[in-house]
């Protein structure tokens, strides 16, 4: 076991898989000698050569389109989009092509690729380096959408994503890249997709969250425990699509009071799907309305980003509301 940050765990996951499987390639902007702007691909070109980790011209559409072609023809590309905010020039290739190749060809052609991209706020990046666009992609059948929140999950989910037969969008919470270290198993380490992680036990209320919101929700649950002795369960969804729906329903039923937290805007955000799932399958066990804590329904600001982003203060407020509801 080694103690790694989340971004080091991504790097370790890439190296581990590239050593094991020669068909794994990394491509993107600045992923070569610079090692990526967050250093997630540091050392890959040095170890595996430019054939297997290479800088591309500045075109996200090109990166994903070329990635699809590599995947169609027997390679396992891991494409990096430098910031999730820059993914939209490639939206067509992801949504119309990667996500639909298997279906439109009746399974004849498939796209086993991974698209890694840092998402979310917390680095003073303003409205084009901070967005959380998961909802656009979760509305796309054929894609898988994964969001780790710990170093061990980052490595384990990334290796599972690379081995997955379908295209996986791997959203990395940039705010957590270097915020803490954790022991991460060496060598091949898998965390299965479509499973949730119980971060903290409890049955007075449950918070569903993912990515950079997980530590925020943990802090809020601790504060509630200290302030009023309530036991708040925190569940990290970690794969948004396909979601482990049974686990969500079971946790909602067990706790009866639910808060959903994400950085993305509220309207048609991922929290709406969780709320609908609970309304459809657990309404009889609910003791309070579901409360969502989210970004504002605005573009991402810069100077005021700390008010836009959900923080422990806002999650505590929501937990008080669901716990006090009679």
């Amino acid at each position: 076991m080694t103690e790694l940050t989340l971004v080091q765990a991504v790097n370790d996951g890439l190296k581990t898989k590239m050593r094991e499987d020669e068909t794994v390639l990394v491509l993107g902007e600045d992923v070569g000698p610079k090692g990526g702007v967050f250093l997630a691909t540091e050392g890959l070109t040095a170890e595996f050569g430019e054939e297997r980790c290479f800088d591309t011209p500045l075109s996200e559409d090109g990166i994903i389109g070329v990635g699809i072609g590599l995947a169609l023809n027997g390679m396992k590309p891991v494409c990096e989009i430098q910031f999730q905010d820059f993914i939209f020039p490639a939206f067509d290739q992801i949504v119309s092509e990667a996500a639909k190749f298997r279906y439109r060809s009746g399974g004849m052609y498939t796209v086993p690729m991974v698209i890694r991209t840092p998402y979310g706020g917390g680095i003073r990046g303003g409205l084009y380096h901070s967005q959380s666009g998961e909802a656009y992609f979760c509305h796309t059948p054929g894609l898988k959408v994964v969001v780790p929140s710990t170093p061990a999950d980052a490595k384990g989910l990334l290796i599972s994503a690379i081995e997955d037969p379908d295209p996986v969008l791997f959203l990395e919470p940039k705010a957590l890249y270097r915020s803490f270290r954790q022991e991460v198993p060496e060598g091949i380490w898998r965390v299965p997709l479509s499973t949730v992680r119980e971060v903290r036990p409890g049955d007075d209320a449950v918070v569903f969250c993912y990515g950079a919101m997980v530590p925020v929700c943990e802090r809020a649950a601790e504060r509630i425990a200290e302030a009023r002795g309530a036991a708040v369960r925190v569940v990290d969804l970690r794969t948004l699509l396909p979601l482990d729906e049974e686990a969500v329903i079971a946790a909602a039923r067990a706790c009866g009071r639910v808060v959903v937290v994400h950085e993305a805007p509220r309207f048609c955000g991922y929290g709406a799907e969780i709320s609908a799932l609970i309304a459809e399958h657990a309404i009889d066990a609910m003791e309070a309305p579901v409360v969502r804590v989210t970004g504002f329904d605005t573009p991402f600001p810069n100077t005021l980003e700390h008010y836009y982003l959900p923080d422990a203060r806002r999650v505590v407020d929501a937990l008080e509301r669901v716990l006090d509801y009679e």
Binding site: E29, D30, G32, P33, K34, G35, V37, F38, D55, T56, P57, L58, S59, D61, G62, D85, F86, F88, P89, G121, G122, I123, R124, G125, G126, L127, Y128, H129, K174, A175, S179, R266, F267, F296, D297, T298, P299, P301, N302, T303, L304, E305, H306, Y307, Y308, L309, D311, R313, R314, V316, D317
Partner: protein, 365 residues
């Protein structure tokens, strides 16, 4: 001009800016250099979050910008904020934007180095590479459709030539004969990717041929050469002769931004080579040789510009952040009810639980 700026080389030089304007052109370049120096200092002190400096690119930026009239429009990329100042944007606005404070005309929503100024026809830019280029074509087309003798300057870097936007823009502009000048400031590096890995074309200027427009490649550290090439293109567009591509070959002397460490990917000797070709030194030498501005004049000019920057910074530091209510403004012409509710809710949470804590993270590049 000669590589050391000692004289104009023999041959054709027209069109050139009037000689009387040359010291002013130098002053614009110097202002950009000094603004970048100050902003980088503030960034290191944690008072400004990010700086995308233009250091080394001043001739390309200001020589090209001087070729347009006040009525023309400019679509910029990351490093052409100095052109807005050259066109008349107040320094106070420049600095307020770098601070993202309540006096920032963009209300603190963008990262620093994303300038705008309607008074000088300088359009807001996103960080998404190349997106401004087709927009510039549309704006130019509007001038043409209304029969106005105005043109559009569309800046981009070398990296943007690989973007979808670049292709669409040049293709549309060629077909529609839009009065636009695409000014590619090739600074050698798209973050860590050298121009040699950006394109296999002979040059960026050579790309114009495929779109049916004239293209030229110019020494981007020669401010007068930059002016001349872009002025010819702007004059042609204004006269109904359609779009052009002008590639200005220069060099980004510093990192991609205040947080980038270029020693990870490029050779210091290459940087040194270009540092010896500093466009400010080169133009200063010519101005001195031509008897237009001597060392004492330059010193006085620098002191005056520094003083104005100091005043603008002092003012910016007195101004607080935009109020919380601004979060929901400008999403639409009028905030819809759900946004008004969200800001009321945010104010309630502040009243009951206190203010939000500033984020801990730093911009990585």
């Amino acid at each position: 001009m000669a590589a050391d700026g000692s004289a104009l080389l023999p041959g054709r030089h027209e069109p050139l800016p009037p000689r009387a304007d040359w010291p002013g052109l130098y002053r614009a370049m110097l202002t950009t250099r000094l603004l970048d120096d100050r902003m980088l200092k503030l960034q290191r002190q944690g008072r400004v979050a990010f700086v995308g400096a233009a250091t080394g690119l001043e001739a390309a930026i200001h020589g090209s910008a001087a070729a347009f009239t006040a009525e023309d429009w400019v679509f910029s990329a990351l490093r052409e904020g100095g052109a807005a100042v050259q066109r008349g944007m107040p320094l106070e606005q420049y600095v307020a934007h770098m601070f993202g404070n309540a006096e920032d005309t963009a209300k603190g929503r963008q990262m620093p180095n994303h300038f705008q100024c309607r008074e000088v026809n300088f359009v807001s830019w996103s960080s998404v590479i190349g997106t401004q280029l087709p927009q510039a074509v549309g704006a130019a087309l509007a001038f043409a459709r209304r029969g106005e003798p105005r043109v559009v300057c569309a800046y981009s870097g070398d990296g943007a030539t690989s973007s979808n936007g670049f292709h669409s823009a040049l293709n549309f502009a060629g077909v529609l004969r839009a009065p636009v000048v695409f000014v590619v400031i090739d600074n050698g590096w798209a973050i860590s990717v050298p121009s040699s890995k950006q394109t296999a074309a002979r040059s960026y200027g050579a790309k114009a041929a495929a779109y049916g427009m004239p293209g030229t490649d110019v020494d981007g550290n020669d401010v007068l050469a930059c002016y001349r090439a872009v002025k010819e293109a702007a004059d042609r567009a204004r006269a109904g002769g359609g779009p052009s591509l002008v590639a200005l070959r220069s060099y980004r002397l510093l990192g991609h931004s205040s947080s980038d460490d270029p020693s990870r990917y490029r050779d210091e000797r290459e940087v040194e080579h270009w540092r010896r070709r500093d466009p400010l030194d080169r133009f200063a030498a010519l101005l001195e040789a031509e008897g237009l501005l001597d060392a004492a004049g330059r010193e006085a000019m620098a002191a005056e510009v520094r003083g104005r920057i100091t005043e603008a910074v002092a003012r910016a530091e007195q101004v607080g952040p935009p109020p919380l209510e601004t979060l929901v403004e400008d999403v639409y012409a009028e905030p819809p009810r759900h946004l008004r509710r969200q800001v009321i809710e945010a104010l309630r949470v502040v009243a009951e639980h206190g203010e939000a804590e500033a984020v801990a993270g730093r911009f990585p590049l």
